[in-house]
Amino acid sequence: MAAKGRYSRRTFLKGAGATAAGTAAVACGTTGIGPGPVTAQPVAVRVGPAANAPGTQLSRVTVNGTLYEAAVDARWTLAEMLREQLGLTGTKVGCDRGECGSCTVLVDGKPVLSCLTLATEVADKQITTVEGLAVGGKLNPLQEAFWETGAVQCGFCTPGMLMSATALLAAKPKPTEDEVRLALSGNLCRCTGYRKIVEGVLVASGQAPKA
């Protein structure tokens, strides 16, 4: 993998506006791995039933840089809000009980199981989902590395793997193989045996797996 895969802690969000400032917790950048460019939203996107519908609660949340003002069903998980309300079905639900990691998203830069998080818990937080990774319609270096190394088979675990790996690389740009394995150990995959996924993360960090 070329040097473009090198990971950077630099953020590109400096000065991107008040709405986006909070996402700086996620290491990302035009040459790095992380969410795509964020546009400051002068007006929040309103979604959901009427804010005063019974059982709903108004929540302001930024997802992939877009500020939403969402009336969420108090029973809903973050995964349900993302998938059912915002139409962001890239976040997968494999078990709906915190066992498989398919629903991993970043909340203020930290990997979180969106099936175990209530939608109302993320008010005023910055969410990054798999849809926020590609920059300007182009795969980011981590996605490119996954493609190159064959880290994807059926693809159902892929979004969660990408988000866990994004969080790892933000915290540790040059992880060892064992650190990658540990970081991905909460994400189940049935197709790959994990080998090419581990390889993909290492390649994205500008390293090759030790032969």
Partner: protein, 810 residues
Amino acid sequence: MAKKKLSEKEILALLDDPQFHLAVAEYPTEHQDEIDAIDEYIRRVTPSLAPWVSASNPAETRIVGKRVKRVEDPVRLTGQAMYATDVSLPGMLHAAILRSPHARARIEDIDTSAAEALPGVRAVLTYKNVPTEGGAKTGSNPDRYAVQRDVNFAGEEVAAVAAEDAHTAREALDLIKIKWNVLPSITDMKEALLASAPDLAGTRTGNKTPASAPTKRGDFAAAYASAPIKHEGTYTTTTLQHATLEPYATVVRWDAPDHVTAWASTQYAPGIRSGLAGYFGLPRARVRAIAENTGGGFGSKTGANRDAIIAAVLSKMTLRPVKVAFDRPGNFKAATHRFADILTLKAGVTSDGRLVAYEGFNYGDAAAYRGGASAIVPLQRLYRADNATFTYQGVITNRPPSGAQRCVGDPQGTWAQEIFIDELAEKAGMDPVAFRLKNFETKIDQDTKRTWASCGIVECVEQGAKAIGWQQKWHKPGAAIRGSKAHGIGMAAHACAHGAMSLPMSSVVRIDQAGAIDINQGLTEIGGGQSTTMMMIATETVGASLKDAYPTWGDTGFVSDTGGTWGSRGTISAGSAVRNAALDLKAQLLVEATKPRGSSNKPLLEGKPEDLDTADGYAFLKADPSKRVALKDIVSATGSPMMGRGTHVVPAGVAMSVFAAGFAEVEVDLDTGEITLLRYIATDDLGKAINVLGAEQQIEGGASMGIGMALGEELKFDGPGNFPVNANWENYAMPTALDHPRWADFRPILVEPGDAIGPYGAKGLAEPPTAPPPPAIANAVYNAIGVRIHDAPITSDKILAGIKEKGLRA
């Protein structure tokens, strides 16, 4: 036994029956007569290709055999890929399913009034209103419908609710009241076989399924009696779940009273189509099944399962689209399962280490729906034994439905055989590798006497032994214990029923005036990169560029049926059909290129068609490649798109098998019984890799599933209701990234001896890598501590018991 004669009508009916296709792919040896009759018929009616047209030499390919990034992946990397669980339609209802808490029971009465009264509930389906006539019976023995009144396993579907949202649907389940008549149940095969066992299926057969005739060669009893070295052992495997990351899921919408569309998580979109058409008595053309992406299958999603049927029935009841997605515990309980097997093996060996007598008796868990559960194919194939008897007997229990899981019964048979062979080698005083090499049958299928089209088992074993350092590392059992750690290596070999034989398949490859290539093939993409593989085969053969081919996605509205993605048959079977169709197209292109045309009455290229070849989007003169014309210009000159047709049939008298081996290196902790898998080498005879990347993926993934079977996967049943107690990923030990060896120590090795039948010498691949890991690891554990584990999985409690018995620890 006399060969079955089939009429043309019977042949055509079988070719049109999706269940028969599945049965042939997974259990080919049981259907040899039908396969032969069909092959013979298709060979007779299929027009032959122009004799002068040929595909590229496998050694000189431009696309095939390379490492290619898959076309399937970008959409899966961005989160845009649509799976059945992602489909959301206007007005769509969400369903929830009520499952039986009892393994065997009858519903005396069911009261759904409170559930129906819950605001938002639109329909409740129970035995009282479920369709039962005609195709609505989804199976017999026991009779099955969309939901059941008579329950045969814990977790079976007894009611379904469709509501405006998923929460309301789930809430409604709690309001359904059932009066149960709980009946005695059994989930243990040995218990089911006891004379005192209740008659689970009312068959008065001692809970046995109808017996099939044993496979016999020579005289086992006599050869065994006179053999100087004798050995006998019993080996068991248990019930496993496929645990696809995406559960069973289908969205169904009735478009009109006689037209239905299904978005399904499936390995076989045409199977969803025929399943729903059969259920509702519709022509297949009135059912459309779409499977753009499927989150894993591994044999569990071979047709219209209950998710599809329930969604379709609820949708018809409400005239609204309905989504059914099994929740994770539901999927663990009620998707199909890898069946448990018990194998008792007996063999006689000469003093110089030659296997002369071999007997295998196999009880397989036919479970609640009495499916096939045989594990004897690897026993019949891998080792030469002139005197042999193999017998299979299915046992009825109340475990959840048995079905095909990656390699079906072969990992069970290979678990038994490869531990047994290791024990035999030791009795014969031979190195386990040398003993196997001495006894492999590499030429023929011993029962049909047909010649293998190729066999790479010797290369698999030799290359694997070299890669792991067998000569340096193998030692006497228990001879490498340092402190509390014991080191060992072990191996296993495998001959597979899959990746080889299947029914004739046909495909169409088209090219338009822009040079775009459209492959009409219906393999449903479940993660194996089938679309990329077919694009590689088609473009290589036509002589185009990979970028000129359209990817194909599973949608019965656009592609024809080239069989399901199962039985490791895609590359060999659909791939051969695509190759033949592409060859037919190539021949037509070359004929058109040399036809005089236009006012000048000159051809695009001078010469005869056989003087030309194609590559990289051009046809050219072999003698002078500078004389060339673009394929798209040939098409334009003819005025319309061109189409090649192709059919694949296995040549008469030939048999195919795929071979694999696995080498494991372990460390066993004597205090905790924990096994660390330090190294695993998987060698696989795949004939020839079409996409090297895809081939490695299949080997790594297959081996991973075998590692899970070895080291902890086991669906457990307990309590008076015989309920599965670990129906979730928390307690079902599916391997994580930490349970595999490191990158450099988990190696796939492609063994490519070529093959006379498959496209560019390729054979199937997805299943064979699954079988060797469990016995290879068991043999490595024996090498480490001298303890034999005969009952999978190899868990710490069994290791510790063995260590204590051996006196290695108090």
